[in-house]
């Protein structure tokens, strides 16, 4: 537990940059590596994972969206969002004292690592979160609209929620357990994706004749990269190289494996054949779900979390797409949103030290009972989910008013690659 909370306590307890001894080289090495791994999750990981799932006439648009979001969010992070998330402020947002990374030199530390490493590591989280949303409106969104929405969303949803949970804000103070972003990343992105699917509306071919994934090998390649990169995402969230980061990686891996097999088994039973898209989707479900929990639970807990993630997200996907006929194109909400929700709740449960082989490493600071912890977790889920939902809705409406959300029918038929970017994916 102690290790697990390093990050939170740090932000809460220390006046920024008060200490300026040398950084711990091992901790620094691991966070620099984790940073590379998390960027790798987005580029090319997520880009490939998503890109393979759309039609071949839209593949470049997905890759382009991931690249453009990465670049745009990076500059916004520099400009002021890092400050909004992590500078001293009130319980709801940080101030602007760290805009343009003011005062950050090679000697500034955050805990045992250089502040530059911390800021960059966090930047990669800010990048991947809006990139996740891309899956919901794939194959029909205008590039300009996507850019405007993503920029606004990171500023108005991601940065403040990060402050609430990790930046010294009210949810962190309350003892919310969210090690690597169940609320901050997966719930915010997942809920925004659901809103996107509803506001933008379905692809014109949905569900009648929608095209199957154009390149499953690309998707599986991306999936492998996500699994590997997630080691940095979750393991790096310990902000050091120690027993806590190692355990976070271990439970992350177990949950991914369990989610994969659970999804595979369900498909096998329900549809007669296990598919590679199924197994990798189960993997993402397992990974997303363990994310908030990975610093607090043990291997036994991770096994259950992964299995539950596979089962719940499998059914959620079916519900949203097949039953409710909502065209969240690449199933962002049922996998990330639902995974984030149940993961945040289960983090509270499996953190308990009294579950025998399924025990974890203890509750949040100042929290005494399982019930109390679960209440805090539920509060976190609700607050971040509702906030993300409402504000995302507003931002889509605003973007629609500014430039319009969708391409016209002819462009949708011709594909976004040619009509938005004047390029084609393959000329084999």
């Amino acid at each position: 537990m102690k290790r697990g909370l390093t990050f939170l306590s740090l932000l809460v307890a220390l006046p920024w940059a008060a200490y300026a001894g040398p950084a711990d080289s091992g901790d620094t090495a691991w966070i620099l590596t984790s940073t590379a791994l998390v960027l790798f999750m987005t580029l090319p990981g997520l880009a490939l994972f998503y890109g393979g799932l759309v039609g071949s006439k839209n593949v470049l648009s997905v890759l382009m969206q991931c690249f453009a979001i990465t670049s745009l969010v990076s500059l916004l992070w520099l400009a002021g969002l890092y400050s909004v998330a992590f500078a001293e402020g009130n319980g709801f947002m940080g101030g602007f004292s760290k805009a343009m990374f003011a005062g950050m030199g090679t000697q500034s530390l955050t805990g045992t690592i250089p502040e530059a490493a911390f800021a960059l590591f966090q930047l990669t989280f800010a990048v991947i979160t809006p990139a996740l949303i891309v899956g919901a409106f794939a194959e029909r969104m205008k590039f300009s609209a996507m850019l405007i929405f993503s920029g606004l969303w990171v500023a108005v949803v991601y940065a403040p929620v990060t402050h609430w949970v990790w930046g010294g804000g009210w949810l962190g103070e309350m003892g919310l357990l969210d090690f690597a972003g169940g609320t901050v990343v997966h719930i915010t992105a997942g809920v925004a994706a659901l809103v996107a699917a509803l506001v933008v509306g379905p692809r014109r071919t949905f569900p009648r004749t929608s095209t199957p994934p154009h390149n499953m090998t690309m998707t599986v390649t991306g999936a492998g990269m996500l699994w590997v990169g997630w080691f940095g995402f979750n393991g790096g969230s310990a902000l050091g190289a120690n027993g806590s980061s190692a355990m976070a990686m271990l439970v992350t891996h177990i949950s991914a494996a369990a989610g994969s097999l659970a999804w595979m088994a369900l498909e096998w039973r329900k549809f007669g054949k296990p598919s590679v898209l199924g197994i990798v989707t189960g993997m993402v479900a397992g990974l997303g779900t363990i994310t908030p929990a990975c610093g607090f639970v043990g291997p036994g807990g991770a096994l259950l979390i992964g299995l539950i993630a596979g089962v719940v997200c499998f059914n959620a996907t079916n519900l949203i797409k097949v039953r409710l006929k909502i065209d969240d194109s690449l199933d962002v909400f049922p996998v990330h949103g639902v995974g984030g929700i149940i993961g945040t709740l289960m983090a509270g449960f499996f953190a308990s030290t009294e579950l025998g082989v399924f025990s974890g490493f203890g509750f949040g600071k100042g929290i005494e009972s399982l019930g109390q912890q679960l209440m805090v977790q539920a509060t976190g889920v609700l607050a971040t989910g509702v906030y993300a939902g409402v504000v995302s809705f507003g931002l889509f409406k605003l973007t629609d008013a500014l430039v319009g959300l969708r391409v016209d029918e002819e462009q949708e038929v011709m594909g976004l690659d040619l009509t938005q970017h004047e390029e084609r994916g393959y000329i084999l």
């Binding site: 569900p207 095209t211 329900k270 549809f271 598919s275 499998f314 996907t317 199933d331």
Partner: protein, 112 residues
């Protein structure tokens, strides 16, 4: 001179080619196509959503032959491509007025 167009299953291309060679038909042009007929397609499932794939991958062989060889060619193709199962394919025969070898300008049967 006739054009014989055969729509066959992709994996019998090699046997068909060999059978034609045996009756001394060396020239042919092959296209990958998708067929629709009595042989049904299949269903693919991606995350539980069904995609009905109506079309079956087929290979189209096109040979232009002198009238005298038409029957032999049909025979050879049926022999090599027939498995007795639905989807073995069709052969269509149609008239060709002339053939020209681009390299030499020769016309007629000698151009084949």
């Amino acid at each position: 001179m006739k054009k014989i167009e055969a729509i066959i299953k992709p994996f019998v291309l090699d046997p068909v080619k060999d059978a034609l060679k045996e009756i001394e038909i060396y020239g042919m042009t092959v296209t990958e196509v998708k067929g629709f007929g009595q042989q049904k397609g299949h269903t693919e499932l991606y995350r539980g959503a069904e995609y009905q794939i109506d079309f079956v991958p087929k290979t189209r062989i096109e040979i232009v032959v002198p009238d005298a060889k038409v029957e032999a060619a049909i025979e050879a193709i049926c022999q090599a491509a027939g498995s007795g199962k639905i989807g073995d394919g069709k052969i269509f025969v149609s008239p060709v007025e002339t053939a020209i070898r681009i390299r030499t300008g020769e016309r007629g049967e000698s151009a084949l």
